[in-house]
Symmetry: C2
Subunit: 360 residues, 2 copies
């Protein structure tokens, strides 16, 4: 099985048995493992390499985590390409989010125990590997009563959705928010979190052959309305305008559509730019409509908040998952099939669901 | 003398003697006058008309104001063209700012007396006329120890400059702000008000043949640096970057230049769009640099504040004028030469100073 370009001979040992062995509990050592390493910045299909990571005895305060699942996020790709403004120097293990099980703790570890599920409290730790050795403070414990793919993805996308709903403008029951990219995981979370609060959502998605099917699915999550860009700016869309809050992860004309549905004094928060096109705004929107444009970046938010804040958020969000109130589409892919998952994440196979690597 | 297209025969009585007569104090009547009326929306050189306004006895709470001076502002032009979002229905007297002297008060007027200088507290009252009859509450008294052209123009531009410096971000001594359109009256006021507070200003102006001369003049007002757009985005401009506040009255590439000099978490306030081009922003500026874009419109500010707030502002600003700490370039033009002033204001004679009509 050819996993990645630049595969080293030592990687041929890579097989399922490694995962089976890894479920043993070690008291102070971490076993040998495998990692997807970003050798240099560039095309992800050319600069990633699967490498062996030798096991070792834990140092004080360190824990060994056997990874259970880790997604491939757009920002992971940007970091590999070198177009992300921050990140560890390369070579570095890829992946910035995931969930794992504690299988060994060293002396001095106070708040985590073997068998706990944990997620990294910050980006840059490298989650695309079978075992991670990091200090206790790099981790946040999460509940175990949810599917691993949700625990693995609760940080970056659902927390972003929650913060954008909470932190920019006071929203009361019945208030309207508008978003583009509504089929993204953040988009799906926004619909559901807003619905739980009695807010209405106007959702803008791309024109597509299965528009009606997607529309019905989003309405099933609680969307008040689902529109194409053209519909949003031209069609009679009833009372789904005058939004207090707009969320933009696309840019270009899709951002214009969001601003169109904003009401006076409305705020649009940009948290992504999937179209790679800038945002264009008329002078009169600022002066006469008094709209405000801001940005949101979870990494910046985290730099101002404690791991306890993260723990509270993930506990709330995973609680909703457990209760069946928060759901979103993902595709689980075995770690061994990383190349396929990467190809899909790069959009080489059309529109696909979020790819989540699983390690067991 | 042909004043305006569509001049009516009755207008031939219009001459200087009217102004001389008007300096008499009437106790309860306002004399005959003249007004520039916007007959319908359209090209200002085609839809304005000079009309006679018959005098009349004042009703309760009304005062009669003999206008002393009134500027032609860009927003006046926009209102005439019908591209401004608010304004009185036409036909209506043009002009939205100015200063006049109270020459008659009716019964029930408590806070104003004959010989007071007053300015309108809101737009839409029609200041391009020799005498105005309005209720006492439509006016705000101002100090008389300044030239009439400053009293006439203190509301819209200097107040806008002051509010933008005060209301958007806390600024401390040494902090930097960046603005485009720095030769505008707002721009000149920003430089001086910022300088008085110990703030530094980076000022962006158009490329022009007299660049060095203009640069020196703005530096004389307290500008820390004066640049063309190209210099602002490409040249080594020393430490004049990382601004906390940006002010944009141009749009297009000049707005991009302002955003370029903003620091992390910087705020750009748009208060005009002289280039008639929109503002274009990258996604990364919102996410990674965390800039915010907002708008300012004095008319909206006034709707949330009392005439007392306006009185305090104008007293402060005209105090600075009196002390020689606030100065800006204007050209006084007799009301009889309105056509010339209008032509200049429309940019038909190249770059000109603010035109201020004088009535005596």
């Amino acid at each position: 099985m050819v996993l990645l370009r630049g595969l080293q001979p030592s990687c041929t040992r890579f097989n399922q048995s490694l995962f089976r062995n890894s479920s043993r509990a070690f008291s102070s050592a971490c076993p040998d493992g495998k990692a997807i390493v970003v050798e240099r910045h560039g095309n992800p299909q050319e600069v990633l390499k699967l490498v062996d990571v030798p096991g070792r005895t834990l140092k004080e305060r360190e824990i060994c985590v056997r990874m259970l699942a880790a997604p491939i996020n757009p920002s992971d790709i940007n970091r590999i390409e070198g177009v992300y403004p921050v990140g560890p120097p390369v070579p570095a293990v890829g992946g910035n989010e995931g969930v794992g099980e504690v299988i060994a703790v060293s002396e001095g570890v106070k708040n985590l125990s073997v068998s706990d599920w944990v997620i990294p409290v910050r980006a840059g730790l490298g989650t695309w590997q079978t075992f991670m050795i990091k200090e206790e403070t790099d981790w946040c414990k999460v509940r175990k009563d949810v599917p691993i793919e949700y625990a693995a993805t609760t940080f970056i996308n659902p927390c972003t959705a929650l913060r954008m709903l909470e932190d920019f403008v006071p929203l009361n029951e019945g208030d309207l928010l508008v978003q583009n990219g509504a089929t993204s995981i953040v988009g799906q979370c926004v619909i559901q979190l807003a619905h739980l609060r009695g807010l209405r959502t106007a959702n803008i998605i791309r024109e597509r052959s299965d528009f009606q099917e997607v529309k019905q699915r989003l309405e099933g999550l609680g969307a008040s309305g689902v529109f194409t860009e053209n519909e949003a700016v031209s069609k009679e869309i009833g009372d789904l305008k005058g939004a207090k809050l707009g969320l933009n992860c696309v840019g270009g004309s899709a951002a214009t559509a969001v601003m169109k549905l904003l009401g006076e004094n409305g705020i649009m928060v940009t948290y992504g730019g999937m179209s790679k096109k800038p945002i264009t705004v008329s002078t009169s929107a600022f002066i006469f409509k008094n709209i405000e444009l801001k940005g949101f970046w979870l990494q910046k938010w985290m730099s101002h908040h404690s791991p306890m804040d993260l723990a509270r958020m993930t506990d709330y969000l995973l609680g909703l998952v457990h209760e069946g109130k928060l759901t979103y589409q993902m595709e689980k892919v075995p770690f061994e099939e990383f190349n396929t998952a990467l190809e899909k994440s790069l959009g080489k196979r059309g529109s696909v669901m979020k790819q989540v690597l699983t390690f067991a």
